[in-house]
């Protein structure tokens, strides 16, 4: 016997290990499958299915209740009857059916035969044509074939048609047997239609065993009912730096009810979008399949888990809840987190970037308005706001206006003089609280004052020729229209211009008199218009405005400035630019006044006063603020949160910055010039929120052109105009373009208020409007308010004319509007009607002799020809109420009927035209 080969271990035992390890492998595979199958979003989808099923069941019950049971029973009875009837005709039906079958066969045969023949005919035709083109002798052969077969085809066709006709007839005959039955069935169906519809809906949504199987692990590729939903956005892109990739939003995977009505009260994520008419709806301007979600809300559209989608809580409270409920955490590595809901409007600006106001985005618009009002763009670079005005007054001739002490006191605390002022607090803020910094601030203020006074250019001032009467002045201020821009004392007006209180503590009489007589004399760039005041008017107003003083402000003490503080600040400012010895030497060359002036210049440059105010010596300085062009997308790590314990998010930073601009210096050791410089505006919380939205809206993200709101020429013109309207505060007086005029609101008698300008473009002739804007004339003599002269340049004037025209969907034309052709008869008729209607009763030529109240007075009709568009006049006479709601102009032609049946055959249209022609006629109204 051969020696057995040595063994190493028991084979049998190996199999035990083999079995164990195989079982473990199998187990781990099962684990993989289960892990892969369980996904967060499926939980939500299942919940939504449950909600929808519940609803459908309820609807079904309702639909069932609605079914008329009685009628149903009757119909069922009738159905039975008709069925019986049909059954009685069974034999007959069988016969017909048999006949039909035979006819079917005949038709099938005929059809086959015809098609068979036809294809040969087609083919012969082709070959005949082909060969004859190439002069091939075979052409003849095919011609013959074609000719032979053609009659056969025709015959076959006829046979087919005949057979078809017979068959159809027979089929109809067969149908007739059960026609009544079908009718009844149809009626039953009609009765049950709604129920069936709801039933179908229920069947579609409700969970079933089949659906469970199809959603089971490994099988869920076949036809799962739970599925990731995604919207692939053709024209929107995510910027991945190396390339732009198509945007994909899977938000609807969980937010399943977002674009369906009826889920408004559901908890998230199922709730319907609050504004389906504006967003998501297929008829809305932003249909979901085209815009998706993340282009507005931001976040990670590809993600289907709560945390990875980059949801952003609206506050620490919500954050805590989410952490508990969903295991949410802040996605640090994701740049574009979802915008908190209150700032979602920030995204509007991505596409609506060249309009003054984004429709329906009040929050963003308010932010933009505030930014414009407080002049954020004066210090910061903001795309789209480059060519704006300086928001602060011109300081070129400052000495002519205020004295040194006032400037110093003002700089120390502007709000102490006028609490409503727009001027922010610059000194003595939270990061300048220690004694040394206070000293330095005092020195800087003194230095700035010194610089401003020294660099103020002289200006000639006029003195009032008569002493003013304050009471008269007060009346004038209220009646001339100053309140369209300013609040004065107790009289609340528009807040566009500064509040005119306590001027007695600020300016001199000569300056004020000169200023209100001609604002452009003092400051060529001012937005303050010229009210064409007479000397007495100006004197009265001056007297009135100067009568109010702020005594406590006048009494505030001006802190003393220590020369060594001035020196140290100067030396500190040299740091980095030169060595200490050189700096000292340079300082030593200056005397005390020069030092103060030098420091003043340095401080103005440092604080950026020149960005809002025109100051001599700073004409070409660059703004000092941070570039905000991409602030809405700024990397969080680039924001210096310092040691302030707030959430590290863009919104939190911006809000905090606006609340206390200097707070991020807290706990830091910084030299005077290194400290944060943004001044304190004392915004309210609401203002801060709006401004934050605005700042978040500033991105350089490029939405493809075709997806942006692109303005057509008309809209562009309108936007240009809107900018001017905002700049000159037209809405301070007039109501138009969706905004109420402040002054109009303040006036009790609408007839005495500044006119409504809606439809102005359709109403007045462009040439006239152009002249009027440049040089206003009196149209409504009974009005005390005075249209001011804005000193518009040619470009702005034309822009405004275009604006009004385009706002009324009119083509602006300076060619004038031709006087309508007419006949003497018509003119005569016009005159008759004019007199009969007693037009002159309101449209008086001499308003001063008016015996009626202002609300009944109407413009001088002799201006018509130059001022109004003929078409408008016609429409106006026809139905004034349609053009201007609440007008005092009576409707003479109610429902297109005329009360004067004798004139012009009682034709209302002709009568209206006659009046119009009369108004436009050379010798018309003027003579009357």
């Amino acid at each position: 016997m051969a020696k057995p080969t040595p063994t190493l271990y028991s084979i049998a035992k190996t199999f035990m290990w083999f079995a164990i390890i195989s079982l473990l492998l199998l187990g781990s595979l099962v684990a993989i499958v289960l892990m892969d199958h369980s996904r967060e979003w499926k939980v939500w989808q299942k919940k939504f299915v449950a909600i929808k099923t519940e609803r459908a069941k309820k609807e079904l019950a309702e639909a069932e209740a609605k079914v008329d049971k009685k009628q149903l029973a009757t119909l069922a009875e009738r159905l039975k009857q008709t069925q019986m009837e049909r059954k009685s005709q069974r034999a007959e039906m069988a016969k017909t059916r048999k006949e039909l079958e035979a006819l079917e066969v005949r038709f099938a045969q005929a059809k086959t035969h015809y098609q068979d023949q036809k294809q040969f005919q087609d083919s012969y035709r082709y070959y005949f044509e082909e060969y004859s083109t190439h002069h091939d002798p075979r052409a003849k052969e095919f011609q013959k074939k074609f000719q032979t077969i053609s009659p056969k085809v025709a015959a076959a066709k006829k046979e087919q048609d005949d057979a078809e006709k017979l068959r159809d007839e027979k089929a109809a005959q067969l149908e007739d047997f059960s026609a009544k039955e079908k009718e009844v069935k149809k009626e039953i169906e009609k009765l049950l239609a709604e129920k069936r519809l709801v039933q179908g809906k229920l069947d579609r949504v409700k969970p079933t065993l089949a659906k469970d199987i199809l959603n089971a692990p490994m099988l869920d590729f076949l036809k799962p009912s739970l599925q990731v939903q995604q919207i692939v956005l053709e024209d929107l892109y995510d910027d991945y730096h190396f390339a732009k990739t198509q945007k994909v939003d899977r938000c609807t995977t969980c937010h399943q009810g977002i674009d369906q009505k009826g889920f408004e009260d559901m908890p998230q994520p199922f709730r319907t979008h609050p504004d389906l008419d504006l967003y998501l709806g297929s008829q809305s301007p932003h249909p979901v399949e085209k815009f998706g979600c993340t282009v507005c809300h931001s976040g990670s559209g590809h993600s289907v888990s709560f945390t990875d989608a980059a949801h952003t809580p609206s506050g620490p409270e919500e954050a805590r809840q989410w952490k508990k409920k969903y295991g949410w955490h802040d996605l640090e590595k994701w740049e574009q987190k979802m915008l908190p809901l209150e700032h979602a409007q920030a995204s509007c600006a991505k596409c609506h970037n060249d309009v003054v106001e984004v429709p329906q985005a009040d929050h963003l618009n308010e932010g933009r308005r505030l930014a414009a009002k407080f002049g954020c763009f004066n210090c910061h670079k903001i795309n789209g706001f480059e060519e704006r005005w300086k928001v602060g007054p011109d300081l070129t001739h400052l000495s002519g206006k205020v004295d040194e002490d006032w400037i110093t006191r003002w700089l120390h605390d502007p709000k102490a003089f006028r609490p409503s002022t727009q001027m922010p607090q610059i000194f003595h803020l939270s990061n300048h609280q220690d004694a040394a910094d206070r000293e330095r601030d005092n020195a800087a203020i003194a230095a700035i004052t010194a610089y401003l006074v020294k660099n103020s250019e002289p200006i000639t001032l006029m003195a009032a020729p008569i002493p003013g009467n304050p009471e008269e002045g007060e009346k004038l201020v209220k009646s001339l229209g100053c309140l369209g821009c300013h609040s004065v004392g107790d009289a609340k007006g528009d807040s566009f211009g500064p509040e005119l209180s306590n001027l007695g503590s600020k300016v001199g009489a000569d300056w004020l008199f000169t200023w209100i007589k001609d604002p452009k004399h003092y400051s060529s760039h001012t937005r303050m218009p010229n009210l064409r005041l007479s000397d007495p008017e100006a004197a009265h107003i001056t007297a009135y405005l100067l009568s109010q003083r702020n005594e406590s402000f006048e009494k505030t003490s001006i802190p003393e400035v220590m020369p060594e503080v001035v020196d140290s600040l100067i030396l500190e400012s040299f740091q980095g630019a030169m060595r200490a010895q050189e700096a000292r030497a340079k300082l030593d060359q200056m005397n005390a006044d020069e030092r103060l002036e030098f420091l003043g210049k340095k401080s103005i440059a440092h604080q950026g006063c020149f960005t809002c105010h025109a100051i001599k010596g700073f004409e070409d300085q660059k703004p000092i603020g941070a570039d905000l062009s991409n602030e809405g997308r700024k990397d969080i790590h680039q924001l210096d949160f310092g040691f302030v314990p707030i959430e590290h998010s863009r919104e939190a930073f911006i809000e905090q910055k606006l609340k206390d601009p200097r707070i991020f210096d807290r706990g830091k050791i910084r030299s005077y010039y290194e400290k944060l410089r943004m001044p304190q505006f004392n915004f309210t919380d609401a203002e801060i929120e709006s401004l934050t939205t605005f700042v978040l809206s500033l991105t350089e993200e490029q939405v493809p052109l075709q997806m942006r709101k692109r303005l057509d020429l008309k809209e562009e013109r309108v936007e240009e105009g809107r900018l001017l309207v905002a700049q000159f505060n037209c809405n301070g007086c007039h109501t138009f373009d969706g905004k109420n005029g402040t002054l109009r609101e303040l006036t009790e008698d609408p007839g005495a208020a500044p006119p409504v300008l809606d439809g102005e473009g359709a109403k007045v002739q462009e040439k006239w409007l152009h002249e009027f804007l440049r040089q206003p004339t009196v149209i409504r003599p009974w009005l005390t308010y005075r249209m001011p002269t804005f000193g518009l340049n040619e470009k702005d004037t034309q822009a405004l004319v275009e604006y009004f025209a385009n706002l009324s969907h009119e083509e602006a034309s300076y060619k004038g509007h031709p006087v309508p052709e007419t006949t003497p008869e018509k003119l005569a008729a016009g005159q008759t009607i004019f007199n009969q209607f007693q037009c002159v009763k309101c449209h008086q030529l001499d308003a001063s002799s008016a015996a009626m109240g202002a609300s009944f007075l109407a413009p001088d009709l002799s201006l018509t020809k130059k001022r109004l568009k003929p078409n408008w006049v016609k429409a106006w006479i026809q139905n004034p109420e349609a053009l201007q709601a609440g007008t005092m102009m009576p409707s003479f032609f109610v429902d297109g009927q005329t009360p004067l049946t004798e004139i012009l055959g009682g034709d209302a249209q002709a009568q209206i035209e006659a009046i119009r022609d009369y108004l436009y006629h050379e010798n018309g109204v003027a003579k009357a």
């Binding site: 079933t208 089949a210 199987i213 199809l214 590729f221 076949l222 036809k223």
Partner: protein, 263 residues
């Protein structure tokens, strides 16, 4: 002519340590060295040291099998080089092929690859033809014949998957026509016989989104998914299988008695 020892470069090389470390034999016409050169060389080792005279003749083998292997190697090399310039995405694929035509240095690589692919199909067919005509599939070589048939199929699949990659009309529609046949696979294709029987209630289980064609194309039609899948099949999956089967094929030639010959 001097008496000095002749300068013999060949000798210097063959007697150097480097040469000897690489080759375990001398370079001479001696029978021993020639035998050793096959035996000790990993590549030549595919062959035995000696073969039947009849089997070594070109007239007998047409060298079709060896040539197929060589063509395969050229395709691997040119294919790898092409991969440096080609991205299998619908955005880039066409442009990258265009680049090979327009400006890539030696873009002729694409022609070498494409015509090489055609050539390989011809040589493989030829090889099979020769093997059949000489009855070389007969026992004991049955199994190697079967492997050969599989290699033939894989060769055609390699060519077929590569056909799509230029992403032009020719490519896309050829693959559309070709892959549409998969729709008709019984039970597994959504238009195949019996597929309609696989249903759960009124829900069809086999439809255009769950059938075998979808698995092949990664989509309901020839699109981005198909391009990527075909690229992976063409460059990785099928070549790997081919290399493995080729190894078995060559190994079995040796084990089954070398190139066939009469008994």
């Amino acid at each position: 002519m001097s008496d000095k020892p002749k300068f013999d470069l060949g000798k210097i090389i063959t007697e150097s340590q480097i040469y000897k470390s690489m080759f375990r034999h001398g370079y001479s016409t001696s029978e021993r060295d020639r035998a050793l050169s096959v035996m000790t060389n990993v590549f030549f080792h595919l062959h035995p040291v000696k073969v039947r005279k009849s089997g070594a003749r070109f007239g007998f083998t047409w060298c079709a099998g060896g040539l197929s292997f060589f063509v395969f190697l050229t395709l691997v090399v040119s294919g790898i080089l092409l991969m440096f310039y080609y991205r299998p995405t619908v955005e880039h694929a066409y442009n990258d092929i265009m680049a090979l035509r327009e400006h890539v240095p030696f873009g002729i690589m694409r022609e070498l690859h494409r015509w090489g692919a055609h050539a390989m199909i011809i040589t493989v067919w030829l090889h099979m033809f020769r093997v059949f005509m000489t009855g070389s599939y007969k026992p004991p070589r049955e199994f190697n014949w079967v492997i050969g048939v599989i290699l033939l199929v894989l060769t055609m699949l390699l060519s077929f998957t590569g056909y799509l990659l230029p992403w032009d009309q020719l490519a896309m529609w050829a693959i559309t026509v070709g892959s549409n046949m998969a729709r008709a696979t019984p039970f597994l294709g959504h238009e195949g016989p019996g597929a309609a029987l696989l249903a759960l209630g009124d829900i069809q289980l086999v439809h255009s989104g769950s059938d075998v064609r979808f698995a092949l194309l990664g989509g309901r039609f020839v699109g981005a998914g198909a391009l990527l899948r075909f690229y992976i099949l063409h460059c990785v999956a099928i070549p790997t299988a081919v290399v493995i089967l080729m190894s078995v094929h060559f190994w079995r030639i040796r084990k089954d008695g070398g190139i066939s010959g009469p008994l």
